[in-house]
């Protein structure tokens, strides 16, 4: 029996090349209650310091809003967390055990960090349903993907998310045909399909009507607790409606942190936003 198992292991198609091995099946260790550690991070483009000695900690289950004027480094910070940009120095940990600096983007996604882009990016030549199907958590290596068939549980999961993002009727529509707000939601839906531990949401309500905005706020607050949500947003009303804790970024580092009221009362924040 044992030798048969060994043989199976040897014959496994995906073990032919070591780079086809999944390096992360690692469960994130949240024993200290903190899901994200960013410490002493700096990055510069052509001498311009986009991030300058940034220190940021996010607690598990938290809903954190990050605000800051243009060029404060919000998107660059997201790029660093998701592995798109490598910092010049500093360290980034996901939970106690996962060093984000050593992982590639898909590995980070597999580890449980999902990201919504500033500009909604969905797969326009796929239907809404297919968009969700592709995002679904699961084995994303070549051969399993080639032979994958949807089962009932997975269909139910997709239907569930379709309901959350209110796109049931558009399920067989090409994503390219959706409105701007619907694309935003579809992208959030795709995040949910990944069942991430940490959601990074970049400007989720840009281009939404007030009604849509309210629904989005509702959605994000309902996600907090089971997931950790980090929202980057410009719209102060929206931030006020969802925020429990707000971090203000300025010139690539944290300027202030606290509740919305505390932050708004901070003279440094006022100076940054309103000038002298």
């Amino acid at each position: 029996m044992n030798s048969l198992d060994n043989l199976r292991e040897v014959m496994r198609r995906d073990r032919v090349f070591d780079f086809m091995l999944q390096t992360t099946g690692l469960e994130v260790d949240l024993s200290h209650g903190t899901i994200l550690y960013l410490e002493d991070i700096s990055v510069s483009f052509d001498g311009f310091k986009a991030i300058n000695d940034l220190n940021l900690y996010i607690d598990a289950g938290e809903l954190r809003c990050i605000i800051g004027p243009n060029g404060a480094g919000k998107t660059t910070m997201m790029d660093i967390i998701t592995g798109k940009t490598r910092p010049d120095k500093g360290s980034a940990f996901f939970g106690q055990n996962i060093n984000l600096m050593q992982l590639s983007e898909p590995e980070i996604a597999q580890a449980g960090i999902g990201r919504k882009f500033q500009k909604p990016t969905v797969f326009e030549s796929h239907t809404v349903f297919e968009n969700l199907e592709l995002s679904m958590a699961g084995d994303k290596r070549i051969w399993p993907t080639l032979t994958a068939q949807l089962n009932g549980i997975q269909r139910d999961k997709i239907d569930e998310v379709l309901e959350i993002i209110a796109l049931q009727e558009q399920r067989n529509l090409y994503a390219g045909a959706l409105s701007h707000g619907q694309k935003q939601w579809l992208e959030i839906g795709m995040l949910l399909m990944q069942s991430p531990k940490l959601l990074l949401v970049d400007e989720p309500v840009a281009g939404m009507t007030h009604q849509e905005m309210d629904r989005t706020a509702e959605l994000l607050t309902s996600l907090a607790g089971t997931h950790t949500v980090v929202v980057v947003e410009h719209d102060m009303d929206f931030v006020r409606s969802i925020a429990r804790k707000v971090t203000v970024l300025h010139q690539g580092s944290v300027l202030a942190e606290g509740s919305m009221d505390e932050v708004q009362a901070d003279p440094r924040v006022i100076e940054v936003y309103l000038g002298e």
Partner: protein, 535 residues
């Protein structure tokens, strides 16, 4: 009437007399002529000495004829004659009067025989005569001839002449001859000084002489000295060959830069893939060809006029391509690639139809042919030298245009942020057309330069398109300096690989190197950094 004829005859007679000097008995040439006819060799030696002392052109002619066994005397009247070389039937001239004797039978004449001593005597005398020749060119040639076959004898000969010699070039050559002669001297000190004089001299004769001596000498220390000097010379030669290789590399690099720099604008600045770029180069080359047909008598002028003409014609074709095709495809770069490739096929076939598929050769003006000989080991061909200079000139002008002119400012604005530039009142369509025209015009100019190096044919462009893209990509897209450095670098690399790998393999190696390099640094040698480049 009769009086007139007498006058005419008299004038002719005087003319003939003055043209053909006759030598009366007692004149050295006449005496020598008599002596040569003697059976005794001692008389003949004496004759040669007389001729040498006389030293005129006529004496030299007689000596040469004697050396080449063409000096005869007629059995009939003992007149000394010179047979024309290789003429059939035999013709002869009077050796003293220069008078044509016309065809003669060989049996009617008797050859002046000569022995080996006479031969070497004549050789020396002739060399001596050349060495004393009033024309500097003749003297230099004579000294150089001695370099090829040095001897102690010639060294002593030259020694006497060195004092009077004024031309530095000739003096230098003479000193080598003397030193080479002294190498065979019995005096060891003299040999050592000679070796010291020859140190660093790259004339091939020096190396031959030293090598011969190195083998002959039994003195080990002396042999080591010679070896040292030979090594020094070898090092110097290697340096020159390095310089020459770099020069060839730079000239090839200049061609690459010229071909690529237009692409650096259309591809690098505008982000447009123009596969017809090579054909724009070809059009420039054909413009040169047509200009030469129009001005067949002034090749130099036609070449100079070709530069603006090619710029305008290729530029206009480029603008037509941009307005007619590319502008419909902005943002769809893969489609642009295909469409412009189609255009390249059409342009090639058009040229084939108009000019025939055969290659045309474009003449090079005289001031561009020939080479600049720095010394016997290093000479730089002028056309390559001009190409390098031309390439740098074009690069400089283009750089200034992009950095300083209004068009340059607008081009950079549009390439960085089209929407913002439009909002600021830049007519972005006009800028697109002008930029594309500029890049295409530069391609045309590159064609003018290429026409001086290779044949002009319909496939000219194809040969350069892949190279050009490689240069731009390797240098870093959107960076003119990168294009310059990468073009020159690739040119030099190619020339250094060629000797041991052959031209084709060198090219393959360079291509493979770039392919691998791009995998390592996808943005080339000098990447544009930052957020703008991320998109």
């Amino acid at each position: 009437m009769a009086k007139l004829i007498t006058w005419i005859l008299l004038i002719i007679g005087i003319t003939v007399v003055s043209l053909n000097p006759t030598y009366a008995s007692g004149h050295p040439i006449a005496d020598a002529a008599e002596l040569l006819k003697s059976k005794k060799f001692t008389d003949k030696y004496r004759a040669i000495e007389l001729l040498e002392a006389e030293g005129s052109e006529q004496a030299e002619k007689i000596l040469i004829a004697l050396q080449e066994s063409r000096l005869y005397y007629l059995k009939r009247d003992k007149k000394l004659i010179i047979l024309a070389p290789d003429a059939e039937p035999l013709t002869a001239t009077n050796a003293l009067t220069h008078e044509d004797i016309g065809p003669i039978k060989k049996s009617a004449a008797k050859k002046i025989s000569l022995n080996n001593r006479m031969r070497s005597q004549i050789r020396n005398v002739l060399a001596m005569m050349d060495l004393r020749n009033p024309l500097a060119d003749k003297r230099l040639a004579a000294v150089n001839q001695m370099l090829d076959n040095p001897s102690a004898e010639s060294a002593t000969l030259i020694q006497t002449l060195l004092i009077d010699e004024q031309v530095p070039e000739i003096r230098e050559a003479m000193e080598i001859v003397i030193a080479l002669g002294k190498l065979t001297s019995g005096d060891k000190n003299e040999r050592l000084t000679a070796v010291a004089v020859l140190d660093g001299n790259i004339h091939p004769a020096v190396r031959n002489g030293l090598r011969k001596l190195q083998q002959q000498t039994t003195d080990k220390a002396f042999a080591a000295d010679i070896k040292q000097v030979l090594d020094n010379i070898q090092a110097k030669l290697q340096l020159y060959s390095l310089v020459e290789n770099i020069f060839f590399g730079l000239s090839l690099g200049s061609v690459l830069v010229l071909a690529a720099i237009g692409l650096a604008i259309t591809f690098g600045v505008m982000g447009v893939i123009n596969m017809a770029h090579g054909e724009l180069i070809m059009i420039g080359a054909y413009t040169t060809y047509v200009m030469q047909l129009l001005l067949p008598n002034d090749i130099g002028l036609s070449l100079l006029l070709s530069i603006p003409a090619a710029f305008v014609i290729s530029g206009l074709v480029g603008i037509a391509i941009e307005r007619g095709v590319i502008r419909f495809l902005y943002g769809r770069s893969l489609e642009t690639l295909l469409a412009t490739f189609g255009i390249s096929l059409i342009l090639q076939q058009t040229v084939r139809t108009i000019f025939s598929p055969l290659n045309r050769s474009v003449e090079t003006p005289t001031w561009m042919s020939g080479s600049w000989e720095i010394n016997s080991a290093l000479s730089l061909t002028l056309n390559r030298l001009y190409i390098i200079a031309f390439c740098l000139l074009v690069f400089g002008v283009l750089y200034l245009v992009l950095k300083k002119s209004v068009l340059g400012l607008q081009v950079r604005a549009v390439s960085q942020n089209r929407a913002m530039a439009r909002a600021m009142g830049v007519r972005s369509e006009w800028v697109d057309a002008m930029t594309f025209g500029l890049g295409s015009g530069i391609a045309g100019i590159a064609g003018v330069a290429l026409s001086q190096l290779t044949n002009v044919g319909p496939n000219l462009g194809q040969a350069y398109i892949i190279d050009s893209f490689m240069v731009v990509v390797f240098g870093g897209v959107g960076n003119l300096w990168g294009t310059l450095v990468s073009g020159m670098g690739l040119g030099i690399a190619n020339k250094f690989l060629e000797p041991w790998s052959g031209a084709v393999l060198a090219k393959i190696l360079v291509l493979v190197f770039i392919i691998l390099f791009i995998q390592k640094r996808p943005r080339g040698l000098f990447p544009q950094k930052g957020r703008a480049a991320e998109g």
